[in-house]
């Protein structure tokens, strides 16, 4: 079942200037998304996941320098001017944010924020836009959608607000959804509902999804492929099952071990030792070397390239883990 590749990212880098130093938030990131594929992008906060997403849509270039290539349906959209990028943003590639509290304009009704997207991307008339907005709210599970159209964001609960944001994002029927930690700010019980909603809508609309998260559990449940980011780079990439079952990069392994699974009560939980490096003071070799348990001399002087380690799997490590997870289980 080979489907068409819709998004192809090659060598994406984003650098922010902070005073006299440069903050390399994203460095040489490459990946691709096929039609209807759900790709997970995993990493700690500060690893560059969110900036990667925002750079794809040209939202970062106001704040920093973005280079590389982002091919959307074969066209490089990174070099497009804002004016030409506008129909793609929200129309073909939509994005939802982490905080439903702050991502909706508090002064405008939900209806206005929904219909303005429709106005920008469709040629529906006023009444038709309103009907479509009600339909969308109904679709994402908002009860009594017709009357809720005139409500303000603060009149919704957190989970409902996230549903509203999804309705706005999907109103123009995009082909790709960029979801930036869409469930992090929500209650655990609501998280599963929202994820299910995103996945079922993606399935229904044959829409690709890039799901940014720090939660490996979420990735295991939802994604087909996963890319693990550390300090602005992808360090491991491949099909979810293989990567989670037998991680090859020590960082992925550390992340896996820090998810408590079948541990007896009152054992100490594992966490990756140390903290991520500052993005303005990255080590010369592998960025993970200072925290790595498999570290070798070469790791401190040279940066391991992201290379194929088996079919469909990539890892950036000189001394990859040999299925230790399986052995220890």
């Amino acid at each position: 079942m080979t489907t068409q590749t819709i998004l192809d990212v090659k060598g994406l880098s984003t650098t922010f200037a902070r005073g006299n130093s440069a903050l390399k938030a994203v460095r040489d990131v490459s990946f691709s998304v096929r039609e209807g594929e759900v790709l997970g992008l995993v990493g700690e906060s500060g690893s560059g996941k969110s900036v990667t997403l925002r750079s794809l849509l040209g939202l970062s270039r106001r704040y920093g320098k973005v280079s590389g290539e982002v091919r959307w349906m074969g066209q490089d959209i990174l070099s497009l001017p804002e004016r030409k990028l506008r129909p793609i943003r929200g129309g073909e590639i939509a994005m939802i944010f982490q905080e439903p509290m702050t991502s909706l304009n508090p002064l405008l009704t939900v209806g206005v924020q929904l219909t303005e997207t429709l106005k920008a991307h469709t040629d529906l008339g006023r009444a038709a836009r309103r009907d479509r907005a009600i339909e969308m709210l109904d679709h994402v599970g908002i009860p009594d959608p017709a009357s809720r159209l005139d409500a303000y964001p603060h009149q919704f609960s957190g989970g409902m607000r996230q549903r509203v944001m999804i309705a706005i994002a999907l109103a123009a029927e995009p082909k790709l959804l960029l979801a930036d930690e869409p469930t992090t700010a929500l209650d655990v019980t609501i998280q599963a509902q929202i994820l299910d909603l995103i996945l079922s809508l993606a399935d229904e609309m044959n829409m690709g999804v890039i799901l940014v998260t720090h939660d490996l559990g979420v990735v295991a449940q939802t994604c087909e492929n996963v890319a693990v980011m550390y300090a602005g780079r992808i360090v491991e990439q491949g099909p979810v099952r293989q990567v989670l079952r037998a991680p090859r990069h020590p960082y992925t392994e550390g992340l896996m071990r820090s998810v408590p699974q079948d541990v007896p009560p009152r054992t100490q939980l594992y966490s990756v030792p140390g903290t991520p490096p500052g993005l303005d003071a990255l080590p010369t070799g592998c960025a993970f070397a200072p925290r790595c348990q498999n570290v070798k001399d070469i790791c401190r002087t040279e940066r391991p390239p992201l290379a194929a380690i088996s079919t469909a799997r990539l890892a950036a490590c000189f001394n990859p883990v040999c299925n230790s997870m399986e052995a220890s289980r």
């Binding site: 849509l57 944010f97 405008l108 991307h121």
Partner: protein, 313 residues
């Protein structure tokens, strides 16, 4: 209904504040050193004259009784008689008040016209040369006292170039706009520096807000993002700022009226002080407090009209 309830609550909150305002004004004159009676008539008056004055002002009553009289009389609109003008204080003030209100509103409009667009230009070009130039210029403006700005304008635009009159005020609306332009711009140049500075940070905050990022991600035209999403939110900050700066504006008005000889309540205050006209000083101090709290009330109402979160909570 929620709005009415809000206004009512807001008005009730003003009662204790105003009680304290009255206490402060009362104590200002009674408790500070110096005998108001002597102050009134100078050192020339005989003891008998002083006793008569004390009797007339009710200074022989116990302090609490005096305060009660002051409070009830004020509520009745009786602020006493001006010694300087030999007329009821309330009439004297009401006669002069319209000019000051006009001047202040004029100054607010001018400072918004100056500060608003420049704050936007600076915020949109943050860290680049337009931002740096605007910020530096206003930093200098912030260090110029109103009376000095006024004198510069007076020297060059009125005395040398004769573009504007050196003082007074007009009778018709357009004549007033012309006559009061220099006094108003003197205040506006100072207050616009305060407003520009804060508005710039407010606009930057809004530009970086997640909902503006989301609006950009939705693919909205820039015009719509700025006009609908940024401007409305920035407007609330602007109104708040004007409310907070109203004390500064009033202080500026007082000074500018003196520099340009505008016959408003600010200049009247100074006349009253040099004449030691205590009833008039009291009345004017109260007037300024009332004006400021009216503006506070007005800004709160505007905010609640613009911001649905305030309206319904």
């Amino acid at each position: 209904m929620a709005l009415l309830q809000y206004i009512l609550n807001r008005l009730i909150l003003m009662v204790p504040t105003f009680f304290l305002v009255m206490v402060i004004i009362f104590l200002l004159v009674r408790l500070l050193p110096g005998d108001p009676a002597i102050a009134l008539d100078g050192d020339r008056a005989s003891d008998a004259d002083l006793a008569a004055i004390r009797e007339r002002l009710g200074l022989n009553e116990p302090l609490l009784m005096q305060f009660w009289l002051f409070l009830t009389n004020t509520l009745k609109g009786d602020l006493g008689t001006s010694i300087l003008m030999r007329a009821p204080v309330i009439d004297v003030i009401m006669n002069r008040l319209p000019t000051t209100v006009f001047l202040t509103v004029y100054a607010i409009c001018l400072s918004l016209v100056i500060a608003g667009p420049l704050a936007f230009v600076a915020a949109l070009n943050r860290g680049r040369w337009p931002d740096n130039i605007i910020r530096s210029a206003f930093q200098v403006g912030l260090s110029m006292p109103v009376f000095y700005i006024g004198l510069i304008l007076l020297t060059f635009l009125a005395a040398q170039l004769r573009w504007f009159p050196v003082g007074g005020y007009g009778e018709t609306f357009s004549a007033q706009l012309y006559h009061l332009f220099l006094p108003a711009i003197a205040v506006a140049l100072y207050t616009s520096a305060i407003i520009m500075r804060n508005l710039r940070s407010a606009v930057i905050e809004v530009l970086d807000a997640e909902y503006v990022q989301f609006a950009r991600a939705k693919g909205l035209p820039v015009r719509l993002i700025l006009g609908r999403h940024v401007l409305r939110n920035a407007l609330i900050s602007t109104i708040t700022l004007v409310g907070l700066s109203i004390g500064n504006m009033m202080s500026g008005t007082l000074v500018t009226e003196t520099v340009f000889a505008v016959p408003g309540v600010g200049r009247l205050m100074l006349e009253a002080i040099f004449a030691r006209d205590y009833p008039l000083i009291q009345g004017l101090t109260l007037t300024f407090a009332v004006l400021v709290s009216l503006v506070f009330l007005l800004t709160d109402l505007c905010q609640s009209a613009l911001d649905p979160r305030i309206r319904l909570t």
